[in-house]
Amino acid sequence: MADIRNVIVIGSGPAGLTAALYTARANLQPLVIEGLEAGGQLMLTTEVENFPGFRDGILGPKLMEEMRAQAARFGADLVHDNVTRVDLCTQPLLVRTPDAEYRAKSVIIATGASAKLLGLPGERTMMGRGVSTCATCDGYFFRGHDIAVIGGGDSAMEEAVFLTRFASKVTLVHRRDGLRASKIMQDKAHANPKIEWMLDSQVEEIMDDGKGAVKGIGVRHNRTQVRTDVPVTGVFVAIGHTPNTSLFRGQLELDANGYVITHDGSKTSIAGVFACGDVQDHIYRQAVTAAGSGCMAALDAERYLDHVPEHLQTV
C-alpha cells in the first residue's frame, strides 16, 4: 500500500490551489488532484478585473496558471487526474482515480460548481454544435451570426457583451422581468446596441437544423403566453451553477441544493474533511472569496493534523 498522505486537495480552482499553497508552505506535502475541469471556472473567463493585486486586470487562465505554479513552487504535488470515488467513512480517508488509489489523514474538498443547463431535449447532444456554456471558448465561431444568451445574472451580461464582438446580434432571454446582475454589468449590457432583450420569457425549445446543430430557439413570454421562434445558430447558457458534490452524496452532509454544509470555518460533517470555495458557497462565489476559504481550509486541516483525535489516528 502506498504512503498515507497528510492532505489531499480535490479540485484546482482558486480555493483548491490556495489550500494547496498554504498546506505546502506548512510542509504537509499536499497532493492536488486537479480534476476534469482543472483551473475551475476562471478558465472560462477572459479579463478578471476584481482580483486584488492586479490593477490592470489579469486573464482568468493566466491567473490560474500563476496560482498553480505558486503552489508547485512550495512542493504541492499536482496530478492531472479525476477523482472517481471517495470513502470518507474510514481512516485513513480513501480517494480513488481511474488509475490510482490514495490514502490520507485529511481531505480538502474544492470541487467547485459547474454550469447548469436548461434541461431541454437536444441540449446536451448539441453542446459544441451551437449550445455552449463558455462564451470565451466558443464565441469565435459565431462571427456574423445571430445568437442568444440565456440568463439574467452577471455572467449572462458579461457573456452577452463579450459575444457582441463576434455576433451580429445577441438576444438575451431571461425568465424574469428584472435582472439579477449587478448595476455596472446591467448598464454595460443595456448600453450595447447589438443586444436585444426578451425578458419575462422562457426558452422552451432548442431547434435542430436536421444535422445536429442549432438553428433556433422557441421562446414563450410568461405573461402573454405568446411563443416566438428566434433564428440563432448559438445558444449560450448562463443560468447559474450546480455544486460538484455527487462524489460525496451519502457520506457528507449536503444542503437541499447539494452544497457541502460547513461549520466553524471549513469543517464538514466528517472529522478531517474540509471544504472550501463554490462547493460550499452559493452566496459570494468570487475568486477572492474562494481563495480566502481555501486558506481557511488549509489552516483548519493543519490544526487538525496537529491534534488528530486518538481514535482516528492511523499511524
Partner: protein
C-alpha cells in the same frame, strides 16, 4: 506538448490528415481557450499511448480557420477522429482519458496496429 503530437495546419491537413494511412485524431484549440489547456495533458498522454496506432495532432483554429469552418465546428476544444478521410467521431465535451480511449478503440482494432513494436509503455 510532447514530441509525439503533430501540428496540423490548413496547408498540411489534406496530406497529413485526410490522406494519412492511419486514423488521425485532431485536437482543435486556440490560445484563448482555457478548457483547451485542460485537455492538453490528456492529448499528450494519448499521443504517447497510441504511438504507431494513430496519429495525434493539434490544430490552432485561430491560425487555421478553414478546417473548423469546413467541419462546422462551433466550440472548442473539439476532437475530431478521421479515418480514411472521413470524420468518424467528434468529441466536443471535456472527457476523461479513459473515456476518450474507449471512443478511439472503437476505430482502432488490434489488426490495424501494424507498428506494435513502436508502441511505448504507458507513462507513469
Amino acid at each position: 506538448m510532447n514530441e509525439h503530437v503533430q501540428t496540423f495546419t490548413d496547408n498540411n491537413f489534406e496530406t497529413d490528415v485526410l490522406k494519412a494511412g492511419k486514423p488521425v485524431l485532431v485536437d482543435l484549440w486556440a490560445p484563448w481557450c482555457g478548457p483547451c489547456k485542460r485537455l492538453e495533458p490528456t492529448v499528450d498522454a494519448l499521443a504517447a499511448e497510441y504511438l504507431g496506432k494513430i496519429t495525434i495532432g493539434k490544430m490552432n483554429v485561430d491560425e487555421n480557420p478553414d478546417v473548423s469552418f469546413k467541419y462546422q465546428v462551433r466550440g472548442i476544444p473539439t476532437l475530431l477522429l478521421f479515418k480514411d478521410g472521413q470524420v468518424v467521431e467528434s468529441i466536443v465535451v471535456l472527457a476523461h482519458k479513459e473515456d476518450l480511449k474507449k471512443v478511439i478503440d472503437k476505430h482502432v482494432g488490434a489488426t490495424q496496429a501494424d507498428d506494435l513494436q513502436n508502441v511505448t509503455a504507458k507513462p507513469a
